[in-house]
Amino acid sequence: MYPRPFTYHRAKSYPEAISLLSELGEEAKFLAGGQSLIPLMKLRLSAPRHLVDLNFIPETSYIRSNATARFGAMTRHAEIAASAEAARIPILHDCSAGIADPQVRHMGTIGGSVAEADPTGDWAPVLLATGATVKTLGPGGERSIDIAEFILDAYTTALQPAELVTEIVMPLPAERSGGAYLALKRCAPVYASASVAVQLTMHDDHTCQDARVYLGVLGLTATRVTVAEEVLRSKPVSPESMEKVRGAVMDIAEPNADMRGSAAYKRQAAGALAKLAVEAAVKRARGEHVEVTHLYA
């Protein structure tokens, strides 16, 4: 399948990419890893007249950490999965090592994923749960935007015309913190049927100090499950509280029946994922090594 013909522009820097896009207008798009845009263009669901290629801009793919972990927008999912940061912050590994399949993870970028704001994307719930910030650059200069204010709706972000994502900044989790991200998929290359991200801090081995719980896929954007957070916050983690978390996530889910399953099935799946994610997050906060990955069914 051939995309509609387009004119190619290779940017050598972000400022050049931004001025190119400003000149070319609405018929132009940035190309990051292309793992969503290229399939859309092949299906002619997207047919830009110009592509501004970000792949050859130096210093855009990096992982740096001191007080925060910072990911260059063009950092590929596979590079994040293999990083020391992913080894230290397990929720990062859960997400980056489970997106699609190895081939897609070698090309797809964190910045592209965040800018696309696909409701089935893996990064949004994880970045929301960890309280990440999106750094952008556009004709109006640099901005730092809380991820919760960056993703506005399905496929809609706070990005202005010709503005692009330059970096994702993630605060390093406090002591006695743990997180987990679980997604249920039919197989690797497809979109998830449901996903849940949990990031929590324990007061001691039994009592949760604070928690963030986000449900992915089953809404227009990742959804914060505040009832589940309240169930966990400042209370001992018990089988009863886990059951309440499961119920809260099931209550807030707004699944649509489609080829991935019935609404009831997805609701059940979301509840089960939430329970597994909290269990893994608590164990990790206690310092236990727990492997969590995308589940296939």
Partner: protein, 166 residues
């Protein structure tokens, strides 16, 4: 009249040989390989980034060549299934797939070979879970995967997985 679109000039090292071409911007990497370079070993399967039949290595990393524009490989190194054999000798991964009959119709095989080469680079002694994750982006509708697993274990046992013939 359609407007005239400037072609993109690109060069890449493909299976150890340097090529330079001028292509339409919308040319996909798989089309460059098959139609411009006559390397038809890389197959187009689903053409939607699902099946992995078109898998090649770009700069040592597996990618789906139907989901990359040719210009994304500019200045890079590409390894296709044609680049695996050396001096008339099958690559150990190819030999293992042949010995274990890790295919039936063979259509998906080039993609599985490339993903296996990548997998064994990262995991020279893969566990079953490593193999499942490593070939998760490749689909075979014939074998039921049993013999593909056997072939991958056999290739790992041959101990040559790390030599991908660059």
């Amino acid at each position: 009249m359609p407007e005239k679109i400037p072609r993109v000039r690109l060069s890449a090292m493909v299976n150890g040989k340097q090529y330079a071409r001028e292509v339409e911007p919308r040319t996909l990497l798989v089309q460059l390989l098959r139609e411009e370079l006559n390397l038809t070993g890389t197959h187009i399967g689903c053409d939607t980034s699902y099946c992995g039949a078109c898998t090649v290595l770009l700069n040592g990393r597996s990618v789906k060549s139907c989901t990359l524009f040719a210009f994304q490989a500019d200045g890079g190194e590409v390894l296709t299934v044609e680049g695996l054999a050396r001096d008339g000798q099958l690559h150990p991964v190819q030999q293992a797939f042949s010995d274990c009959h890790g295919f039936q119709c063979g259509y998906c095989t080039p993609g599985f070979l490339m993903s296996t080469v990548q997998l064994l680079e990262e995991h020279p002694h893969p566990t079953e879970s490593d193999i499942r994750k490593g070939i998760a982006g490749n689909t075979c509708r014939c074998t039921g995967y049993q013999n593909i697993f056997k072939a991958i274990y056999a290739a790992a046992a041959a101990g040559e997985g790390a030599d991908i013939g660059h």
